[in-house]
Symmetry: C3
Subunit: 353 residues, 3 copies
């Protein structure tokens, strides 16, 4: 079951520069595009004439034009032009979805349009603050549920096994980290602290660090499927845990994660990697991107392997352990949101209109 009453990330803003983009969200085929006026819009991705995907059409002055027989649609999904005929039948329309552009991202609302309040969209100003937080970004399509993608982020002990050679480092360090887990109105806050440890390989590839460091991992889960992560390290003993002004001169990275459900068992995994270290160094952003992509490929590989098994066995037989604390809190937040959600805006047309 999908959580319908939610804003899902549908695309990076720069993906809509040249042509419409085809996406499947909550198992609905969608076309996302930017009109000639610059507005972003999302329609059900099927022309009401002969069903062809509108995403293989093109944006013209009047709207989004189907590439098969040329019908044109407005951002509200209403057909505004049928080649060869003056009158447009009232039924000539497709479903449109509330769409908002914010912080370099395109957001789509999949539930009752009346409830689509843009104020509910998360804030991530770092995407716009390219001076202090230059970033790279991308997207993976992953054959696992979006929930298992969130699970992966809520239990960072996996870093010592899956990512030991890059962003993780020694397993024991990560397993023994101090951890605070707080359930919030929006989701779950997780703070992890390793006051006396060695830097992981990725940190050393990006910056110079002493042999012993203070290391932090702060994860803000926002339901249904965002994780805003600030992670980094400075030399041991600087007291960067509470005093953020001490979080400079070392390695400092903000990772943005958003998992949008494609089908019941697959998702888009949007990510960005911003850094606050080595500002002004043109190579620093690229170096970080390379390291992050290696780690994300490792995540993709393990969660897909996991999904293969869960698909076959279900998850009733699984046993929670101590490191699952944040993950369990996250799943509770999802259950709550699921219970409160209305039905999905599903199908090519709004049938009761």
């Amino acid at each position: 079951m999908f959580i319908a009453d939610a804003w899902y990330m549908g695309a990076w803003a720069d993906e809509l520069a040249d042509a419409p983009v085809s996406r499947r969200i909550c198992n609905q085929p969608l076309v996302l595009y930017r009109s000639k006026e610059g507005e972003v819009a999302t329609l059900y991705d099927s022309c009401c004439h002969r069903g062809a995907p509108l995403s293989v059409g093109s944006v013209i002055d009047q709207g989004l034009q189907c590439g098969y027989h040329g019908l044109v649609f407005g951002n509200d999904g209403v057909c505004v032009h049928i080649p060869g005929q003056a009158q447009i039948p009232r039924k000539a329309r497709v479903r449109s979805y509330p769409t908002v552009e914010k912080d370099q991202m395109i957001w789509v609302w999949m539930g009752d349009p009346e409830k689509a309040d843009p104020a509910l969209i998360l804030d991530y100003p770092f995407h716009n603050d390219t001076g202090n937080w230059p970033h790279s970004h991308g997207m993976y399509e992953i054959d696992t549920t979006y929930q298992m993608m969130m699970d992966n982020l809520m239990d960072l002990t996996h870093l010592g096994y899956v990512h030991a050679k890059n962003v993780g480092g020694k397993a024991a360090t990560l397993v023994e980290a101090e951890m605070d887990v707080i359930t919030t109105e929006k989701g779950v806050d997780v703070k992890r602290w390793m006051p006396d440890c060695e830097p992981p390989p990725t940190y050393l590839k990006c910056v110079d660090l002493p042999e012993k460091i203070e290391r932090w991992q702060e994860m803000e889960f926002i339901a249904p499927s965002a994780v805003l992560q600030w992670t980094g390290a400075v030399g041991k003993g600087q007291g960067a845990r509470e005093d953020f002004s001490k979080r400079v001169g070392g390695f400092s990275m903000r990772l943005y994660h958003f998992a949008t459900p494609v089908t019941e068992t697959s998702c888009y995994y949007f990510w960005s990697a911003a850094h606050n270290h080595l500002l002004g160094d043109p190579d620093a952003t690229e170096n970080l991107r390379k390291e992050v992509e290696i780690a994300l490929e490792e995540d993709k590989w393990i969660v897909q392997a996991q999904q293969d098994r869960i698909r076959e066995t279900g998850d009733d037989w699984l046993v929670d352990v101590r490191s699952d604390k944040a993950r369990v809190a996250m799943r509770h937040a999802l259950k709550k949101m699921e219970a409160e959600s209305g039905p999905l805006a599903a199908g090519p047309v709004v049938t009761d209109s």
Copy 2:
């Protein structure tokens, strides 16, 4: 549901030159072959001994030999030889299908064999008239229903959107064409006329034409799934609409289309492209083939994309427009033929014999 009582094109005659050919028609696995005596035949493609496909066997003097343990079958599907034993059980046989070779094509009857009248097979003498109509031909397997392949041909306004850069040209020209649609005993005749327009790119690549032309598109749909097309152009004002003798000195092409159902949602699309312009020019046939294949690939791409959506949404919600006139008449002809058809000759053996 398949229309069983019909002749379907199963292969080009030249495909049977060297070895048996495996085809699936109306979801029946078939082997088409030419015996050493030169007769064409079609059997259910599975040996009655251990089930291996006969299409991986070979034609020998006595008949079609299975490539697994060497059983041999006659054109009627009766086993005529079992290696290592003299007696052949009465049950050692597979279903055979009425098969006819005509106009360089192989035709298979999928319904009650008693109704298989060769006189019902369409005439297409142009395949034999290589002096006046030299041609190339081929086949695509397409993931869409054969009906949607016919839909595509019955609404030529798609030429201005899907094939604008080759056989189509300007969308407005094609949308504004005069159109006559006549329901016939065999199907539907469509005549489209553009008396004053510019030549599309393909025409100019093949022949010299003035800036303004008369252009015709004549499509004869023959149920269940043939379209015989004559299309071309001469200089504007020559009066080629009714006087066929004026249809010389320009671009003149006959396209043959036949869509044979493979499964309920896929088909073989057989095509040939003949031309009456530049007779005697060895490059003209090849130039036309290249242009036609580009356009057919575009068709394949759009109809498969369409099928992806229709598979998910059904087609009840779609809205007919003015340009669907011929398409709707074609679908009516199909419904009629479907209602009149008997059951399919399905399965490896005739069970009640």
Copy 3:
């Protein structure tokens, strides 16, 4: 339905040298591995924490460690270590399967563990007798039932059609072979004798032989799915049929075949090819391997094509012929074993413990 109470070959012993191996047997995902102490073991291939496959983990001193969050399991499937917590819940375990290493092969018991008697595992000492029987070995995953893989071996008349250009030779020779079929306690013994024939191409590639040979094919089927084959030839008239001491100086090969069910319609096909001719010639083993692999690829191709058809038509309509004698006896042995078998040890955990 799988025969559960049986030893199935899960791997070649040398496959476990470096890392755990993922296999699916009787549709159960399994991990086979060798512990640091050198014991071989098989577990259900899914960690009881978050379900990740244990086969992507690694063997450490304490046991098999999951590659996701580091849990460690003993050979009995009991979790022995959870990173970050001292207490291990009683439910933290996965199913283990009786596993035995014998004659360079790893055997897994898929039924009631109490019935897992290693004495039931077939003997194949030739794998250890590398002085007299040097061999190569391998495995194919094949999209056909293991029963049809056995069928293929029980009717060697296919050699003249499928393998005419390598191990088979003339079809008539193989069809006319004398054949003894004896039902045994373990399965079926088949002895085939061609006292006066020409050598097949493979034999001539491997050794020198006269124009006329005595040729033998002896197949011991051991239920559920082994065939131990001794096949070869010496010059005509040497009397090698009963007097095995005469089976020297020609071509002499022992083929080992084992088909382990993966799913209901696919199998692993393990094979080895040993030879007793040209002992001490380093190229002889390699030459034989090349020839055998060509023939096995041909088998794979034909049995998969056969399976494609049987999947669609079933096999009720098929007609047995004279050459099916051994095959029919083999199928009877399988039916008997199937009737006597208890249930499969299925699922990630033993639910009633």
